[in-house]
Symmetry: C2
Subunit: 405 residues, 2 copies
């Protein structure tokens, strides 16, 4: 049996050599926000004389080596490449940055420059950091990629030793990036704070404020263990099985399949083609709901069962005809429809008639709420569906989605 390099590497992925402290790494790097010569009142350089060279760290060498093994490239790098690292600390001007960055890094980032950069670091999956940054960037979409002011994000997940953490922050400093982190391990979070202050990297701790608030509310201490940490196994809970069952159910029911199972669904979505039934179903399934979707197609009889189930769980989806036409045209192109088929599917006349057909069905079933999906992301429509679903189910005075942990 032959052991593969990638497999060997994977098993070692989270197990680097013993970690280094910030103090040990500090002398190899000059922080961006610091004067060239330390002044008596500078508290950023307690360690005395000013080192000016940034050397390749053993950590980076290890990563590069691991990658080279995986990709089958030669390990020896030309001396000039190594020398590119031995440079001054970063400044914000783009020309200086090009000079200061090692050639290898430029190769990697070629496609992503220019634009502002956000680094995200996590000792767990990193999805919380990604989700929060994504939500916050939603506030700036008026100036993002389409308006010529792009943002590049880089997520580093499973960073569970301080040495790799500091390498990443150092790299963020070099690129003039900001850092967003979720570090369950408190000493890691503290290292990140210190390193960012020292190297002038603007940073935001996403996890600690909410964890501390919850800790004080519950009156217990956080475990400090990230998701996926040894000793923090994900339990095979009832919720786990329920979620998997919901996903499998939803896949099987997609696009009107198995109408006899409609009554087993928690939520049923009805709408014409390209109102987003499938992605919405899948999104809701991930949240543990069994979802069935029923396409409304002009001239095709609807399953009898749709009108026999509890109407409180059926939701109609509707959309602006012009937007629907745009989506259907894109779809017709992807599927390689010929002109005839395409005009029947995405012609404005057909689109309007099919939406009217759907409206009539909705009108005949007044207990179904009808949700307008125009201009809504899947997550947004999902929020509306679940709000109404919970409201109808729980009859609460303030519509809410409740969960128990």
């Amino acid at each position: 049996m032959m052991a593969s390099a990638s497999r060997l590497n994977l098993s070692n992925f989270h197990r680097p050599p013993p970690s280094t402290t910030i103090a040990e790494l500090k002398p190899t790097f000059t922080p961006r926000t610091q004067p060239t010569k330390p002044t008596p009142d500078s508290d950023a350089t307690p360690s005395g004389p000013e080192p000016r060279k940034l050397k390749p760290s053993p950590q980076l060498n290890r990563w590069s080596r691991a990658r080279a093994i995986r990709s089958g490239r030669k390990l020896d790098r030309p001396v000039s490449r190594t020398k590119a690292w031995e440079m001054d600390p970063p400044a914000r001007s783009p020309e200086t940055e090009v000079l200061q960055s090692p050639p290898r890094e430029r190769e990697d980032d070629r496609e992503l420059a220019p634009g502002k950069t956000i680094y995200m670091v996590s000792d767990g999956t990193g999805w919380t950091a990604e989700h929060s940054v994504n939500a916050a960037l939603g506030q700036f979409d008026y100036c993002l990629v389409d308006r010529g002011c792009p943002v590049n994000t880089h997520l580093f997940s499973g960073i569970d030793d301080v040495e790799r953490l500091l390498e990443i922050i150092k790299q963020a400093a070099k690129e003039g990036a900001m850092l967003v982190y979720t570090l369950a391990d408190n000493s890691m979070a503290e290292s990140a704070r210190q390193a960012c202050r020292l190297w002038g990297v603007p940073s935001t701790d996403i996890l600690s404020p909410i964890t501390e608030a919850i800790s004080s509310h519950l009156g217990v201490s956080p475990s400090g263990l990230p998701r996926g940490a040894p000793g923090r196994n994900f339990p095979l809970s009832e919720e786990y099985f329920q979620r998997i069952e919901a996903i499998e159910f939803t896949i099987k029911q997609d696009d009107g399949a198995l109408p006899q199972n409609l009554q087993k669904a928690d939520i049923i979505l009805a709408g014409v083609s390209r109102t987003g039934k499938t992605p919405l179903s899948i999104y809701l399934a991930q949240k543990g709901y069994k979802v069935a979707n029923v396409p409304l197609v002009m001239g095709v009889a609807l399953p009898k069962m749709l009108f026999e189930v509890d109407p409180e769980k059926v939701f109609g989806l509707t959309i602006n005809p012009v937007v629907l036409q745009t989506i259907r045209r894109s779809r017709a192109k992807t599927l390689g429809f010929g002109d005839d088929l395409s005009s029947n599917y995405s012609g404005m006349d057909h689109v309007r008639k099919e939406l009217e057909f759907a409206s009539r069905i909705f009108a005949q079933n007044p207990a179904w709420p009808v949700i307008e999906v125009t201009g809504k992301a899947i997550e947004e429509t999902a929020a509306v569906v679940l709000r109404l679903h919970q409201d109808r189910k729980n009859k609460c005075s303030m519509p809410r989605i409740s969960k128990r942990y």
Copy 2:
């Protein structure tokens, strides 16, 4: 054409009457942290004499009425119910809380008590608040529901007027809950801050710190518009179409279907039954990757195409046999397998042999990384897969997942 009550209600869902200010609402409520009689140095009660009654607000009446219309119940409430609201501000003792809460509220929350409560409020979908709270609660799983210290969360999404916001915070105060909020609208966030301070509700603002940090990094101001706000339509971007295509592709490829399409997949997962291929595929699809999964079944030939595609995109999944047996037993029960079929599927002998069969295939394909899924949540395995996928694709010196906004 008959217009439905629920439909009418839906269209008005986000459009309440003109909003009220905190100052207007204040006199109807006595904060929990405040002395019964204001003292000269109390800055929490600048508005003078101390009102002691909490009256039903027009807002709550409106919600109750809306629900009553939907549910077909009579609108008139007995006077005694209304009277239950006219009580002192909340205290933490459970007996007092029972007295203080209106009967309707007790009915709703019946199943959820006891335990600590976290309220989440958002003027958007609320998923960021939910995701962050979920991540933070991961730090307390050693004492959550299974250990007898449950936490109840309540998510209020699409809260885009200050009047409803204040009602919710007031209710949080009554229940002794803490509040977590994501409010893109700055004046809403400020109202939440003030109300929480005034009514003694411990609170955490999830969105503002990261939004402010990004704003200062980009040098532009946030729009202040929540997702789904009028005028903030979700664009039909390339990414949008790509994500939908990925989800549809992944559903069609599930469970080894259409092996001829394997080469179109970005990621291929191979593993025995119940290693979580389907939920993992779907999770990755939501992130925009086209995923195919191929079941490894002893005695069933694998599709030739699996060995012809780029091996860099194939990932093997493996799992501890004892855990696999537990999952398969649960599965066999759900599917109603008879004893014979069940023992063949979840018998330890069969489980071990099938895992060995998979190991041999993985050994014959050393370029496939093999991921151990035991004790990992879907999100955790997904993080490992994507880290390796990006690393192999980009050959970066520091493994990362990069995106452009």
